[in-house]
Symmetry: C2
Subunit: 360 residues, 2 copies
């Protein structure tokens, strides 16, 4: 590990930060949560299903999507801060609150995740077909595309059929996720969460000692958990391009999320907690020095997205009675996405190397 360096923007080294900063941060995030929720309701809340096959964006729909994203963003920050700084908060209250926030942001995230996954997979199919379509000119492989409309050749038909199959499966999943999100937003469970957040916006339940306690040890502990988890990643392998590690088990019988991905997903979550803790210490601001931390986090988002897309391709290939050409295209697609997984690990390793000098 690299030697400690003086980082003028490191909030941990800037001097004591007390519970008031945490209270201020939580109040701001709670206010943002309530604002997004109001916007989500006002813009219709149920509009996003309309995007399913148009690919376009009505204004109300875009606003609903933005509102849902902002809602998730603040829910993650509240939940993460409750976790990292739990010793400064009413422990019962924060332990009750966290799973509820996780449930809410998970439920709201799912619809968007299916849409993004489909877009990623159709984009990859086009790239792999060498169609070189310009952005905005529409996908040759797209929702309901007729195989016969695609350029000639068995495998290209396979790509088109694979695209249509993925479109069917992921659109169905997205529609279900949309209904589930609507149902959740109307549930008493949701109203209880919203009420708790409303309380938080005015009165943060700090522990009695919090106003004099220093937040920094908790933030340092969050950073320590991140560093430990990163330390156990196979970064040496990841830093060696084309190590072919991500596709090992690419044909194994086990179809659930690959065990080799798990520690990377874990680091993704811990990196997020670390970033939020830095935000709390800095009074909600993100500093330029966090750019590398953000890049590392984005690589891990790519890692997760590619892993899930690869898994969706493998899962589609198990649909009964598909044509061999369809299955072949899905196999190519699966391998392609697993290589994106490997590429994301490489990118993470590269940005972490730069980060490590500063962080330690």
């Amino acid at each position: 590990m690299a030697q400690q360096q003086l980082d003028p923007t490191d909030p941990v080294k800037a001097g004591p930060v007390n519970g008031d900063a945490l209270a201020g941060y939580l109040r701001a995030q709670a206010t943002e949560f309530l604002r997004s929720l109001r916007q989500h309701r006002e813009t219709g809340g149920s509009g996003s299903a309309a995007r399913a096959s148009s690919g376009g964006g009505e204004n109300g729909t875009d606003q609903t999507v933005d509102a849902a994203r902002a809602l998730r963003r603040s829910a993650r920050r509240i939940s993460g801060s409750l976790h990292t700084f739990r010793s400064l908060l009413d422990p019962d209250w924060s332990e009750r609150m966290r799973p509820e926030l996780a449930w809410l942001s998970g439920t709201l995230a799912r619809e968007h995740a299916y849409a993004a996954r489909l877009e990623r997979l159709l984009g990859a199919l086009n790239r792999l077909s060498g169609s070189g379509s310009e952005p905005g000119s529409g996908f040759p492989v797209q929702a309901g595309a007729e195989p016969s409309a695609a350029p000639k050749g068995q495998l290209t038909v396979g790509a088109a059929k694979a695209g249509a199959l993925l479109d069917r499966q992921l659109t169905l999943a997205r529609t279900r996720a949309h209904s589930a999100a609507l149902q959740a937003l109307g549930s008493s469970r949701f109203h209880a969460v919203a009420d708790s957040v409303a309380v938080l916006a005015s009165e943060v339940p700090l522990a009695p000692t919090a106003s004099t306690a220093d937040l920094r040890p908790s933030a340092t502990a969050a950073q320590g958990r991140l560093l430990d988890a990163v330390g156990s990643l196979p970064l040496l392998t990841a830093g060696h391009p084309y190590n072919a590690e991500a596709l090992v088990h690419g044909l194994s019988a086990d179809t659930s999320p690959q065990p080799q991905d798990v520690p990377w997903h874990q680091v993704r979550l811990l990196l997020r907690l670390h970033r939020y803790a830095r935000e709390v210490l800095r009074g909600g601001e993100e500093y330029p020095a966090d750019v590398r931390l953000l890049a590392a986090g984005q690589a891990l988002n790519q890692h997760r997205d590619a892993a899930e897309a690869a898994s969706a391709a493998a899962s589609a290939a198990r649909t009964p009675r598909i044509a061999p050409a369809t299955a072949y295209a899905l196999g190519v697609l699966h391998a392609d996405q697993r290589h994106e997984v490997e590429a994301a690990r490489f990118t993470f390793q590269q940005s972490w190397q730069k980060e490590a000098v500063r962080t330690h």
Copy 2:
């Protein structure tokens, strides 16, 4: 391009080398050709078909394979030298000789190429199945393996079936190549080549001016052709890991060798000619400084092997009436091998960067 550096081992800069060096080199290679041919005949010449499914190696068979390899090795060197130094040789004679040597080494190479391709593909299938078998413990996916003998799961059955299909197709191709090689070795065309090489072993048909002419301009021209060809390769892209270039068109309708591979194959041949020219100038010796050149050449061999293996997987996927799981496994395998193509380009770029400083 990097600035010229003084290379004490560069034969082009060591001083004039006249036609005698070329004559000596050609005589030595011709003698080696005749020795290998004798060994090939004595060890049976027809033994290599026995290797088809045993995977083991009888002594006579191994010797036959070695002899065929040595035969090809000297045929390539003779042919290459005739080309590079054609201005110093009887032009009619060398122009007649070259296609005959190419025909011979091509015919002899084919059997080995199919065997190596099958081994590469079965090895990849095992790696992708995460079977982690130790070297020498035998392939779980191997000639005639029963799908039911493999670990459970549809896709693993797919991998086993894909392995069996590739084994069937490539073993058939190898057997045919073996027969063709045997037939070639008994043909009058072959005997004419062998006679010409026998003449070469005692009396090289140099052009009248050759004994006083300098070989170096021809060697420099060969190097120039290599540098030009390398200069037109997309090395900037290749040096950027995970550029995903090799799999573009991975699902396109065109199934013949990919156009994007052609310039790389061309560089592979030109690099070989450059190496042989250096050998001629140095009296047949390879110098330590050529190690990087060799590494670059090996990367291009990997590139060619992976490209052909990818093509074989795609071709097998077009077999009528295969199961979707088989086609899926072949798709994963195809993409895997195209990524090996990309990895080989990266390796070449890396070793060429090191080489460039010295070569120019």
